[in-house]
Amino acid sequence: MANEKDLESKWDVQLRKGTLDLVVLAALNGRTLYGLELLQLLHKFETTRITEGTLYPLLDRLKRDGLVTAQWRQEGETRPRKYYALTELGSNKLSAVSRRWQQAVSDINHLLAHPGPAPLNDEE
């Protein structure tokens, strides 16, 4: 059982590496969030729990790449916070990457649903 957990954990790390940009862009789609809010949102899902040390440098990179904007704002009595939102370029990238993601999920599901030894027919 411990081994299975270990495998799952390693798999999650690998998966996150490849999908982190997509996850953050998707989380910011139609939302304007500051770092802690974004982190809390990602912690609601089992496979997207990342640390502060991963999130903030990633946001910095997405900003440098022009995929998100960042703006300091103060609301009421709260301290100023840096809010992130998608740019048009970010929205375009999200659309393109999410299409590839859906394709990948569909392809992998198809393979998982059709184990051998029967041949894998394209028309299925």
Binding site: Y34, T51, G53, P57, R61
Partner: protein
């Protein structure tokens, strides 16, 4: 915020941010200040959130989410060290800039911009006072004197004459341009 009256906790946060700031020194000052401000804001927000929920505040646990300051800083500066390829012909500077101190940066700026500007001023001076500005060769070519003088050197020959103007302007411009490029590599721009 009442928990933060505990000076030990404040000191932990201060120490973390100070160390992080040290490792972010490769960034422009405004960039590293922005990073520190955001992380500080997150830490205090996280503390407030814990207090609102009535949970115990553990500063170490909050800071551990960011990882060691050096490791966190590396992620912010990695694009400077690895992400921006140097201009053609400048690859050796990629190595040099990692060890470049601020002193070297300003010395290069002072020397490069100084020499470039001096050459361009020399060209203007030659235009204004052609008889008193020039490049004289003396001692059978063993000595070259670039000077602005009241009495032109009698013993030497003005090597360039009025050609000094375009030569000095072009050389000055090239040196200014080269200095600008070298400094950009140092900055990692």
């Amino acid at each position: 915020m009442s928990r933060l009256s505990d000076s030990q906790e404040r000191e932990k946060i201060h120490s973390y941010l100070k160390t992080l700031g040290k490792y972010l020194s490769r960034l422009e000052v405004y960039e590293s200040e922005e990073v520190l401000r955001e992380i500080e804001s997150h830490i205090f927000d996280a503390i407030d959130l814990k207090e609102v929920k009535g949970e115990p505040v553990d500063i170490d646990s909050i800071l551990s989410g960011f990882g060691p300051p050096r490791q966190l800083a590396e992620q912010y500066v990695s694009h400077i060290l690895h992400g921006t390829p140097p201009p053609p012909g400048f690859s050796a500077l990629e190595v040099v800039k990692r060890g470049a101190s601020k002193g070297l940066y300003w010395a290069t700026a002072g020397f490069g911009y100084g020499v470039g500007a001096a050459l361009i001023l020399l060209a203007f001076a030659k235009l204004l006072a052609p008889q008193h500005v020039g490049v004289w060769s003396s001692a059978n070519g063993n000595s070259i004197v670039i000077a602005i003088v009241n009495n032109p050197l009698q013993q030497g020959e003005d090597v360039l004459g009025m050609w000094l103007v375009p030569v000095a302007v072009i050389a000055g411009f090239l040196i200014l341009r080269l200095t600008y490029s070298i400094l950009r590599v140092f900055r990692g721009a």
